[in-house]
């Protein structure tokens, strides 16, 4: 079967965007929600079909000798610079794309369906669904890109959709600030990404993913470029810059500051963009260029990825302990889990059992998308019921919201790594991969596994148990359009751990053998259970243990609560150093030297014109007089000099 139907995966969401975007006054609630959900549902079906065709080998060229290949279902040269360097537009399908073709439309469909109920009565209802479609289009374009420049285009488009959706409540100043912050921080990171792309194009000579993942090509690059700066080759520096872009999108330390603020957006947006899809774009990017990351300079760039991931995962987990806003706890949890994926990529080898980290990272990306989207949608349901983001206003909700309670519990157990839920399988693979490669990173991952269990169950017990505050309105379970996505995602959370990822998604496309390492698995489950038990002890009933802990930690608690003052550091660097020491003097120079000289030329011209405009008398005699004088002068010159 011809696989050019895959273009529909992109065409349907962008059509939805234009349909809803151009008619946002005409299409009313809930029609727009239903249209959006139906069309994204269609996209999802086509995507599932594509992934199914690819993984079963029914797609032409998908499997050669039992190894998954990169398949271009279409590709046209868009801008040509030289024979090898050109920007193409096309559709690439390989294992990680096929996997994302399941993740992105599923979460998008769930978020769309959920929003029909959640966004009820909001002004700009249709606008919201138009933005969601735009985002879905951009994200699918990102994962289907055939070359790094096309990824860059869609990369910026997801940034714009994220900006629009965070700033959805545009009459709320904090939302506007958060949208700007998200856009500027990721844009700053994308500056590095663009530099990396250009360096890779200039020195590497190709942007095409098929070429860039070809081992012979990587070998030739390795031989062509020696160390230029700090012992690393220029290609490695390009990769580190590209990773900077990835770290910005994926909220890795120290470019994470936008993610907590991005929670100002509506909750389905947080679930779709800031938990499941857009923020894993950085992981996807590293996975996409994994061959280069792994082989250039013996994986120097990959070591950077591993340590940045490990630092972020620990850093975010500590902050998540202290936050009161439930969406912020989830945001830091997301950052922590993405750090997990990054460190798994960082410790991974390329082929065979060494490539376990890559597989585990993609596996965790998949399962995390399911249970984190579920947690966010559950949080949205809770916020919808109690009209507050803060856990002080919550407690005892298990009686009022049974479906939300059960699904939230399933997701919390999954993220804590309790078997047989999804998170257990993927997290276990990550820990095994880390243990094989780097003990320090394993230790961080292991500690964070316990911390994750603790802060998730702190959230769970604090919301659903504890003591009931005095609710103004009795909370009630959400409508069906909101609970159905919760149930679907809960089912996905339970079953997705059993998907045989090691046969489907690997770095080199070949199958790898995995087995449960019971020692590591047992240890990780044990630390998870310890975390859960401590949380239960501290938060199941109202008590003062947590207050005493808080005062026990003193300054450290304060620092963690203030997110270790990273925001303040950024403000200090930008305002006090860059703005005051660089921008202000250059603004002065611009105004008083550059502008002034230009204005001087203009003013001088005007001044001279004022002085000589009397000569333009309008009398023919005057003009004749000038003319004759001129003739006389020239005649004199001729007379005396020739």
């Amino acid at each position: 079967m011809d696989s050019s139907y895959t273009i529909l995966i992109l065409l349907i969401p962008i059509f939805t965007f234009f349909l809803l975007g151009f008619n946002f006054k005409r299409i009313k609630e809930p029609t727009s929600g239903i249209i959006g959900t139906a069309l994204i549902g269609t996209t999802a079906l086509i995507s599932y079909f594509t992934a199914f065709q690819y993984f079963t080998g029914a797609m032409k060229g998908a499997i050669v000798d039992g190894v998954y290949q990169k398949v271009y279902t279409m590709n046209t040269v868009w801008i040509e610079f030289s024979d090898t360097l050109h920007i193409d537009m096309g559709i690439l399908i390989d294992p990680i794309t096929a996997m994302m073709l399941i993740v992105v439309p599923t979460i998008s469909l769930m978020a769309n369906m959920y929003s029909i109920g959640y966004m009820h009565g909001e002004s700009g209802y249709t606008r919201f669904f138009a933005y969601l479609s735009l985002f879905t289009f951009s994200m699918l374009g990102l994962v289907l890109s055939t070359n790094i420049f096309m990824i860059y285009i869609f990369w910026e488009m997801v940034g714009v959709s994220s900006y629009l959706l965070i700033g959805y409540y545009y009459n709320k100043p904090s939302a506007v600030l958060a949208a700007k912050k998200a856009f500027i921080v990721t844009r700053f990171a994308d500056f590095g990404f663009l530099m990396g792309i250009l360096m890779l194009g200039y020195y590497g000579g190709s942007w095409d993913f098929k070429v860039l993942s070809d081992l012979g090509f990587i070998e030739s690059l390795q031989q062509a470029y020696g160390a230029v700066f700090m012992g690393l080759s220029v290609i490695t520096w390009a990769l580190i810059l590209i990773f900077m872009g990835g770290a910005g999108k994926s909220a890795m330390f120290p470019l994470h500051i936008w993610l907590p603020d991005a929670m100002e957006g509506p909750t389905p947006v947080s679930a779709l963009i800031h938990a499941a899809t857009m923020v894993v774009a950085g992981v996807f990017l590293v996975a996409r260029l994994f061959g280069l990351f792994h082989f250039m300079d013996d994986g120097a760039a990959l070591t950077v990825v591993a340590y940045v991931g490990a630092l972020s995962t620990l850093f975010a987990a500590i902050i998540a302990f202290t936050q009161h806003d439930i969406k912020r706890v989830l945001a830091f949890s997301t950052m922590s889990q993405i750090g997990y994926m990054m460190l798994a990529l960082g410790v991974s080898g390329y082929s065979g059992h060494d490539g376990l980290g890559f597989m585990a990272s993609m596996f965790h990306l998949f399962t995390h998308a399911m249970f984190k989207a579920l947690l966010f949608l559950g949080a949205g349901s809770i916020i919808h019921a109690v009209h507050s983001n803060y856990m002080q206003d919550m407690g005892g909700l298990r009686k009022y919201m049974p479906i939300t309670h059960i699904t939230f519990l399933i997701a919390a157990l999954a993220i804590s790594g309790v078997p047989p839920l999804a998170g257990f399988w993927s997290k276990d693979e990550i820990l095994v991969a880390a243990l094989h490669d780097n003990t320090l990173i394993f230790a961080v991952g292991y500690i964070v596994a316990g911390m994750t269990a603790f802060y998730m169950f702190r959230l769970y017990f604090r919301i659903f148990w504890w003591n009931e505050p005095n609710y103004k309105h009795t909370p009630h379970e959400s409508t069906n359009t909101m609970t159905i996505p919760l149930i679907v995602l809960a089912v996905m959370t339970i079953v997705s751990g059993f998907i045989p990822f090691h046969n489907l998604v690997t770095a080199d496309g070949a199958h790898i053998e995995t087995h449960i390492d019971w020692a590591t698995a047992g240890a990780s489950v044990a630390v998870g259970l310890v975390g859960i038990l401590i949380a239960m002890f501290m938060y199941k009933k109202e008590n003062t243990i947590s207050k005493r802990f808080r005062s026990g930690f003193g300054n450290f608690y304060e620092a963690a609560f203030a997110k270790f003052y990273i925001d303040e550091l950024y403000m200090f660097v930008t305002k006090k150093i860059i703005f005051a020491k660089i921008s202000a003097p250059s603004a002065w120079f611009d105004r008083n030297v550059v502008d002034a000289s230009m204005n001087g030329v203009g003013n001088g011209t005007v001044w001279i014109a004022e002085k000589i405009k009397g000569l333009q008398s309008g009398k023919v005699q005057d003009y004749a007089m000038f003319f004759i004088s001129g003739v006389v002068v020239i005649a004199m010159l001729f007379w005396f000099f020739i």
Partner: protein
């Protein structure tokens, strides 16, 4: 050729006429006066053509033909200028150039 009159006398005469014309053009405020001054300039030129042709190149006739052209064009120009002047007079009831500078600003 006129016996007893050299080319210098004739050229001096034409130069005098020319500068009278220029002086008149610059000093007259009346449009008709200016037109007459222009005629003087043209006539002095025509005189130059004829004199030089006759004294220096007696075999050729181009100088005479040029004078004829100048006279014809001067006539046409005068007709046109008078038509403009009449219309202008109907419009502003004056022929003084001081009153005819409305396009200055």
């Amino acid at each position: 050729m006129i016996l007893g009159v050299s080319i210098y006398e004739i050229l001096t005469l034409s130069t005098i006429i020319f500068f009278i014309g220029v002086y008149g053009f610059v000093t007259r405020k009346n449009l008709i006066g200016m037109l007459m001054a222009v005629e003087l300039i043209l006539n002095s030129t025509a005189l130059n053509f004829v004199a030089i042709n006759k004294y220096l190149y007696p075999d050729l006739i181009e100088g005479g033909i040029f004078s004829l052209f100048i006279i014809a064009i001067a006539a046409a120009e005068t007709a046109l200028a008078l038509a403009i002047i009449i219309n202008l007079y109907r419009l502003v009831m004056s022929l003084n150039t001081d009153n005819l500078e409305t396009m200055k600003n």
